[in-house]
Symmetry: C2
Subunit: 695 residues, 2 copies
Amino acid sequence: SKKKLALEMLSSWVIYFFIGVGTAFLAAGVQISVELIAHQKFELIKDYFDKCDKEGCLYKPVLIWMGINAGITLVGAALVTYVQPMAAGSGIPLIKSYLNGVRVPGLLSLRAFISKCVGVVLSILGGLACGKEGPMAHSGGIMAAGLGKGRIPWFGKDINIYGLFRNDHNIRDLVAAGAASGVSAAFGAPIGGTLFSVEEAASFWNTELVWKVFFSAMIACFSTNVLLSAFEGHPTQLSNPGLVRFNVFPNLTFDLIEVPVFIFIATIGGLTGSLFVVMNYKLTVFRQKYLHRKKWIKVLEAGLVSAVSAVAAFLLMFSVNDCTEKHPYSHHAITTKLGCSGESHNSMSTMFLTTPEGCLKSLLHDPLEMYSVWSLVLFVVVFFLLGVWTYGLSVSSGVFIPSLAIGAAWGRLIGLGVVQLFPDQAKDVGKYALIGAASQLGGILRTTISLTVIIVECTGDITFGLCIMISLMISKWVGDFFTTGLYDMNVEVSGIPLLSWEPPPLCEDVHVSDFMSQPVMTLLSVERVGHIYDCLSGESFNGFPVIEQDPNYDLMYRGKLKGIILRHQLLVLLKKKMFCPEGQLPAASITLKDFENPYPVPQRLKIQDIELSDADKQCVMDLTPYMNLTPYTASISFSMPRVFRLFRGLGLRHLVVVNDNTEPIGMVTRKDLAKYRAEIKKGMLHMEQLTVENR
Amino acid sequence: SKKKLALEMLSSWVIYFFIGVGTAFLAAGVQISVELIAHQKFELIKDYFDKCDKEGCLYKPVLIWMGINAGITLVGAALVTYVQPMAAGSGIPLIKSYLNGVRVPGLLSLRAFISKCVGVVLSILGGLACGKEGPMAHSGGIMAAGLGKGRIPWFGKDINIYGLFRNDHNIRDLVAAGAASGVSAAFGAPIGGTLFSVEEAASFWNTELVWKVFFSAMIACFSTNVLLSAFEGHPTQLSNPGLVRFNVFPNLTFDLIEVPVFIFIATIGGLTGSLFVVMNYKLTVFRQKYLHRKKWIKVLEAGLVSAVSAVAAFLLMFSVNDCTEKHPYSHHAITTKLGCSGESHNSMSTMFLTTPEGCLKSLLHDPLEMYSVWSLVLFVVVFFLLGVWTYGLSVSSGVFIPSLAIGAAWGRLIGLGVVQLFPDQAKDVGKYALIGAASQLGGILRTTISLTVIIVECTGDITFGLCIMISLMISKWVGDFFTTGLYDMNVEVSGIPLLSWEPPPLCEDVHVSDFMSQPVMTLLSVERVGHIYDCLSGESFNGFPVIEQDPNYDLMYRGKLKGIILRHQLLVLLKKKMFCPEGQLPAASITLKDFENPYPVPQRLKIQDIELSDADKQCVMDLTPYMNLTPYTASISFSMPRVFRLFRGLGLRHLVVVNDNTEPIGMVTRKDLAKYRAEIKKGMLHMEQLTVENR
């Protein structure tokens, strides 16, 4: 047993190491393929623009642009929609729900992995206003789960060298590490990535686990650095800590008198952030009602958005016609003349003939005079609307980068104002663009701690980090006054029974008897198969209390609680025919492996799949060897907050409610708790009962 | 109630804000007074050295140095020893225990605060090998608790404007924020400080709380910056993010081929770290046995160490006689000739004529040729021994800075070797000194995540942070192979029942019946005062199960569990004479305030202080209105890990064990759980039963 323990310890470190390395390969692969192909695409479009600007055939590049965008996006959307719809969006709300303890079927499947990774490359190449960080976290999580299970299902082979990581709990830990590694690789933010996982995931801070997650995240960040540096031809000189580092700001000092400006920017971030959430909420509801009933409509909508993105970009470039002779800060930037003469080029082309990530970096680092006020204003409006429209499409896409780009643009705008007002003090707008980007993201997402740390790590400057913290904090406060964050809104709309951190306030007087499900279906420790079958068919609970039958009792199904047995266990027992006529011993035998084996998808085994003859139904099954003999219970007098803390503190999915005689009289599931939610709307606290699914 | 909730929310933010500001004032005050006075002291000694070097009266400065050191340290040690012994050492192990849920009487008292703050200034001025970061965390925690209670006891006045923060739980949250602010102010590491609190404290990650803690830490860091910048005369140009920032390393790039060197350094850090712990452990046991039986011996020992420190410093400076013409990197550095001629000065004087913090910075930043190999070797040996001897003295002192300085010295030594071997590639030793410092600290403390983040924030360079993480991780692994960390060793020696993160391994077969305390003393819901008195006198438990008396039962004190009542509540009820002869109603009345009022020191009310007449003892007391009606319980069949998770997940101090009839048959306290501890010694896992106190 000691030897097994040491082996377990060692192999878990190995697994966490490979999670980091695997995620890094993934991140580097996505990054390199996006960069290479996107550059080709924009070079092509630029060449046509340059040619047609003189020849007056501008409709040509626009049509080509639209065609490329729509074509690629349609493939990406079809991949997601038809192969695995779980891969739509950023994946972070779903990963969050999964880590919170909700069952999300299909989330960690191979199909989701392929749709997610390939899908995000296609979305970005398709010119949508989206980033790749959310999808990175999701696919990191899938990879981690896959590594943990040690199984390559599509070769029909099982390379299960270690049976250690098959239980629910361990897989969840691995997914947390994978998500952290994904964030870490994407942003070069190992601390932020780790905190992201902890904040969204583990209700229970476990130093041992967090240390392992941190290790994965660190390895991911490091390996990404090595891989990308190797791609650039200098594998040992590490210069690429993450995919979306904001690059070095040469001059990030600040003066105390600038803080009010930052607070002003943060307030705007909170306001516009809630506007984004509200608009996206309305759109999501509209989509659920009308658009997303047919799969082909989903695919078509995505194609439409990408084509509109191309047209909008062209119209902005063409109509504003903001010419500049300044060179963009990046050597890879693609610019076109498009109406500009002499040495100058169309400044807006720097923003649009690149990925959203390149656009963000341009806005942060390009020289002061590069963009005119009008360019920025129009960019903000258009990109904001495109961002709202894009999030929620049936494509694999993240919302980090577009949010940051929008914020950077209007932050830059405010920076221009400051430079106008105080020409002696202020010389650079990059600082304001950075604060704007942070505030906008904070206003939209509100992920608090991890977000702050991620952005601090992205800038690589800890002193200035204080300003970023202040702006994120204020944008969150302002935003929270109006709406919840984008991810929470997502979760709410989809009816996932997510438990918050603390019991909802104003709930002290709600008692367990008010919200438990009753009457509860109980089983005897030696039970007739027919009754088990009826229970499984009639109830959707995932656990059933097992009672001891007391001959003195009148009621057949009243008795002291002896244990709890899971739906899944009952299904396996029925499937394996572990029963026999009364008084005999069952002929079949069962091992622990039989319960574990169908692990990744236990929910696939359904009661409808099990066929029992009438003779079978008259048999009895002895549940004693299989049930959990020491379930956690709640007494009937427990209050809501007390039950809540039990669920949250111990990570429960269901809880048996017993009376003074330890007789089960009810069941509480996550659903029962999640439907109570307090919400702050316009500064007032409301108590709501939501409709949630039973997962 | 909604209004109250809003008020509570707002006032809690205000409190957390002031915790940050208060800690910053504290940190800045300590820093400024240390810097000013220490500079005076060392200038004085330097002058004597310069004079006596020529005149041959070197015994004079040595005697003066010894005298100053011993004098100051004696005062500091007396302050700690006689005023509040809880203020001894770094305070971090105690804060950790308190946050873990252990009662530590006196830890948060005003006396501890004064002894800690003044004591740490005196310890550093007294020339001990110690730092001020641990004490900073402790005093930040005390200040936070004081702010929360809103009470200034020594004016005999109660400025309790808000009664919101008086319960155990809230005070603990505040202390976590205070400790985080202390670390944040000390190192300019708000993220690291927050993680420190979380890692040591909250077993339950609560985003709401962590966000507030982060807020405090941020405010503390920011305010310290403003205060110290103001002290330097430029309050709005912020340049002092923390007290012990490592300052900027101009050139912290690294190549992949350097990583093996870092791993080598980290291994040495782990080895020397465990050596430090082992030596200090032996010393602590020796002290407990022989030295620390009398208070005056404690004080004397501290004085002796400080005098020896002065002598050792002098002997090193004098004997090595390492002369250099290089200028130290800091303008404030004090150097003396001491045997050197011409333009050169004694290089070792840069290390010793300063605080340990200045010494650390010298070792990290001074030019390559500044210190000879022999100087560094001797410094390491002497400072290592002084460090071991100092930690555990009855003075207020931290172990961070000396550990870092030792590591920086031998890291620099290895760096010199690397420069010798690869003169073309390696030009600077600062990098190796930094890795050495991190490894040494990691090898001694093993605080994993928070430590890594603190050091990354201290250097302000995130790319290089990866190397620091690797070295900390490896030094921890190597160290863990031999011993536990210094703080854990401390806790173990003092017998504090600290619960680890996970249930100890190999405990699945231990059941609650094996370790619960039985028979349990139960009370009836209407109970005779005499029996209550006997229970309180005879048992040290902090909670007593209350049962319903069943007339059908033979046994008087067997019955269904109705609730649990705390020792403290019973004491208050007895004190207030809330009882009456059977059949009557009690004359006295009691309010919630009576239970809360003696909050800060409920343990002061003792059963011995309560006097009851024989008539009183015949009275009865109705416990129903006061008891907790829904205590958490464990069934007799629960296994050790299951009980452990209940304690850890719900933060319990005691748990009633019930049988199938919900009759209490035993009690489990933290002590019962903490005595099981698995330990890895020399790579093998052992199962131990420790002796722990019942707190």
